[in-house]
């Protein structure tokens, strides 16, 4: 059965030397719906860049389907993600939630790369994801793809803790039209709409829009921070088109705009108010050639915002990123698939508020390759490697207190190699074993690299005119995350379900964190972003689920995480403790039932205690300390009634077991109840 290594290597070499066998074909973008219907399971390209069935992916991957989202008893994406074993969702406000994969969660969680149809929506200035600000409506999402562990050989910097790719319906293949209205407790009003239009036989266009406003959690807050409570409000619009230019060519275009006002918790940390405004344009061209499927994408993301915090007042922020990437995906012979890719990225923030001119940023040049080998009918091996070279730059005048010159930035280069390797063994139709390793680099954020800002210090206790200068550090090193994992999946047709187990070990080198408590002598105190040491993590996860034809569905998963820090910084100045932010035990359980037009779903999450950093005022000065979050449960539920095939009404409750849930240093999360009317037309 096993084909010889020599013959396979020869086939690959011959194929590469001769270009690629095979005549040009039709259709470039994947028709997810047709392929899912064919194979009876979700399909993806987010694991390796190669189209795959989810059960073939050589990584620990979960796909949340549109049906899962619809029945999830959630009103936003973070609550949808809460059901996934190994994901931690920390809700800091009605607007802000932070999501991490396998622990290390914190406000503005930086370790999870989030994409919308392959376009990065992760914000590089702070290295965070503003979930409420994403210009996507829940009902236009085909699936949410979650990869646990580094997948940087495909996606580059920041895909270290994990990757989430939100895949929406393709307007060329999917006719998605809906209108939804939601009202809820705490003055919640929400609406979303989408319309797909066919322009001729070869072009599909979808426009979607949504908005919501609500009252912020009214739970207790330190009086010194009460002024930062802000009722959340979001508006977003998105237009997307896909055109079949010819039998072998496709063109896709996308434009988005979104705006959000919300309260939240800063990583510095502290309760604060934020205003975000983002817009983006994206173009993609793909063509099927004798050299393979060639795909070129260019996009520009723009971010403008303000953060209002206790120390500095309203701080303006902006971020501009332009990405150009080209890849060629081709099959060589019958057993080998390869991908070659190159990427350029220009990413910068303005130097405000320290000075009014100039920008700080970096250009990244990347090259990557992937080789997938179907060694036998039941063994596949995938390898990918990527080189990223990041050149920093800074223009404009420097701040008077600046510790670094423009030359310190212009002469700084950060580079690194990422890799992923995974083998999949399927001894039977129902059993899948997976062994994988991956190494990813988390680049310092633009704030960590280049932020220079003065904040006035209170007088007293400080002398009049004293300031706190926060400095970025161009010499920061990227955090290197390496993951080793063994997984086992088992189909359970007897219960119309499946089971999954995984054990993993992860090393994190040169972690970055909040700037330390201030040093120096008045009138100028300083703090500078730094690498703070290492932390290792091991854990395992178990899960089982069933989705029966008789309408009963249930699932349960348990994840154990054990993090151990080895920090290199003074614990008195640096109160950060990653190991405490990682809950050791998390259990998710759900049960659902469908009967006639009725749908009922109940979800429970049990989490052991963990620790977070909080900021309080001592003598007028902000002082950070640890806050223990007790073990807790959170129950959510949904009852839906399908009035017709196209129209439904649902009552959704989030955190219904208690009026308030303490989950972070921010004010406690409140129970929320929503009533949603949905129609598809």
């Amino acid at each position: 059965m096993l084909k010889t290594t020599f013959s396979s290597a020869l086939a690959l070499a011959v194929g590469l030397a001769a270009g690629v066998a095979g005549a040009p074909a039709v259709a470039q973008t994947m028709d997810y719906g047709a392929l899912e219907e064919l194979f009876g399971e979700p399909v993806t390209t987010s694991a390796t860049g190669k189209p795959q069935r989810v059960t073939d992916a050589p990584v620990n991957m979960v796909i949340i389907t549109a049906e899962d989202i619809r029945r999830s008893a959630a009103n936003d994406i973070p609550e949808v993600l809460r059901r996934v074993g190994g994901l931690s969702v920390m809700r800091n406000s009605m607007g802000q939630a932070d999501v991490s994969v396998r622990g290390y969660n914190q406000p503005y969680a930086p370790r999870l790369l989030v994409l919308l149809d392959g376009r990065q929506v992760y914000l590089d200035h702070f290295a965070m994801t503003a979930w409420q600000n994403l210009p996507v409506q829940l009902s236009e999402i085909r699936q949410i793809e979650i990869i646990k562990g580094p997948n940087a050989a495909l996606f580059g910097f920041n895909a270290v803790g994990g990757v989430i790719n939100i895949v929406t319906y393709n307007p060329l293949h999917d006719d998605v039209n809906f209108a939804e209205a939601t009202v809820g407790t705490q003055d919640h009003i929400q609406g979303s709409v989408a319309k797909t239009v066919r322009m001729g036989e070869n072009t599909g266009v979808r426009v979607s829009a949504g908005a919501f406003k609500s009252s912020e959690f009214s739970t207790d807050v330190n009086p010194a921070f009460a002024a930062f409570r802000r009722n959340p409000e979001t508006k977003s619009v998105r237009a997307q088109s896909v055109s079949q230019l010819s039998d072998t060519e496709q063109l896709s275009l996308e434009g988005t705009f979104s705006r959000t006002d919300e309260s939240g918790y800063l990583p510095f940390p502290g309760y604060s108010t934020s205003r975000f405004k983002t817009w983006s344009v994206k173009g993609g061209y793909s063509v099927d050639t004798s050299l393979g499927l060639i795909d070129a994408t260019v996009y520009h993301n723009a971010f403008e915002g303000f953060v209002n915090c206790r120390m500095a007042g309203w701080v303006p922020l902006d971020n501009s990123v332009t990405v150009l990437k080209v890849q060629d995906l081709f099959k060589v012979g019958t057993d080998h698939t390869a991908r070659l890719a190159a990427e350029f990225r220009d990413n910068s923030i303005s130097n405000t508020p320290s000075v009014s001119e100039g920008r700080t940023g970096y250009k990244v040049y990347s090259g990557s390759a992937m080789w997938d080998w179907q060694a036998t009918s039941d063994i596949a091996w995938n390898n990918a490697v990527r080189l990223d070279v990041m050149d920093l730059y800074r223009t404009g005048p420097s701040h008077a207190n600046a510790m670094y010159t423009n030359a310190d930035y212009d002469n700084r280069r950060i580079w690194g190699v990422s890799y992923n390797s995974g083998a999949v063994y399927k001894p039977t139709e129902q059993d899948t074993f997976r062994v994988s390793t991956g190494r990813g680099l988390q680049a310092p954020s633009l704030i960590e690299l280049g932020f220079h800002m003065d904040a006035p210090l209170p007088s007293p206790p400080m002398p009049a005119g004293s300031t706190l200068f926060t400095s970025g550090n161009p010499n920061m090193k990227p955090t290197v995350v390496t993951n080793y994992e063994i997984g086992y999946d088992r189909g359970l047709p007897e219960i119309e379900g499946k089971a999954r187990a995984a054990v993993f070990y992860q090393t994190n080198r040169d972690l970055k964190s909040l700037p330390p408590d201030p040093a120096g002598v008045p009138p100028v105190l300083t703090r500078e972003f730094e690498n703070v040491g290492d932390s290792n993590l091991w854990g395992f996860g178990l899960g089982v689920s069933s989705d029966r034809a008789d309408g009963i569905r249930w699932a349960a998963n348990y994840v154990h995480l054990q993090a151990t820090d080895s920090l290199s910084v003074d614990a008195n100045r640096y109160p950060v403790r990653f190991e405490e932010s990682t809950p050791e035990h998390t259990i998710n359980a759900s049960v659902g039932y469908t009967t006639g037009p009725w749908e009922m779903d109940l979800y429970t999450q049990l989490t052991s205690g963990y620790g977070v950093l909080e900021t309080n005022l001592v003598g007028g000065m902000p002082v950070r300390s640890h806050k223990d979050i007790s073990a807790s449960a959170m129950v959510s539920g949904r009852v839906g009634y399908n009035i017709t095939d196209r129209t439904s009404i649902a009552l959704i409750g989030v955190g219904i077991d208690e009026a308030e849930h303490a989950v972070s240093a921010a004010p406690e999360a409140e129970r929320r109840v929503f009533l949603r009317l949905s129609t598809r037309y």
Binding site: L38, K50, K331, E429, Q430
Partner: protein, 172 residues
């Protein structure tokens, strides 16, 4: 109790037979695969079910296949199915797909020769047919969808699949 025993058996690694008799679900998989041909057949898709009337196994398989297509539509694809006697392969003319029924091991080569000459996609639910190069494609719907395409047989028949599809199935 029985469910518990079945579950325990499954967890201990019991394995289902690799290929069972054809089923309606196999036909669905086969016809859904046509969407990924570079040259898609014009609907309604003309399907020839090649069988041997004097071969009981072939006859049973043909009955299952014909029944699966009897409504004139499979997974939204309009189809017109007809029986073709293995002894009169000239009748394959006009078909886009030739289903090779079970029990025709000795005649598979001849069927493939006739289908190849007419540029017809030959499909079986028996993987051995594709492995031997006597069919372009073998399909299996359960317990898990499996599609095997013989690249040489496809090339000889002038059949080409989209690259995305080729990357997701077993090519031999």
């Amino acid at each position: 109790m029985l469910r518990a025993i079945l579950l325990a058996s499954a967890l201990c690694g019991a394995v289902a037979p690799a290929y069972a008799e054809s089923s309606a679900k196999d036909v669905q998989v086969a016809l859904r695969s046509l969407r990924f041909l570079t040259a898609k057949p014009t609907p309604p898709v003309q399907v020839a079910v090649v069988h041997a009337p004097d071969n009981a196994e072939s006859r049973r398989d043909a009955a299952v296949l014909m029944e699966a297509m009897s409504s004139g539509k499979v997974s939204g694809t309009p189809v017109v199915a007809r029986l073709v006697d293995v002894s009169s392969l000239d009748s394959l003319s006009g078909a886009a797909v030739a289903f090779v029924t079970a029990g025709l091991d000795a005649q598979q080569n001849a069927i493939f020769g006739a289908a190849k000459a007419l540029g017809i996609l030959s499909i079986s639910t028996q993987s051995a047919c594709a492995e031997a190069g006597h069919c372009v494609m073998a399909v299996q719907a359960e317990p898990k969808v499996r599609i095997v395409v013989n690249a040489m047989a496809a090339k000889a028949s002038g059949i080409d699949f989209e690259p995305t599809f080729r990357m997701m199935i077993s090519e031999i």
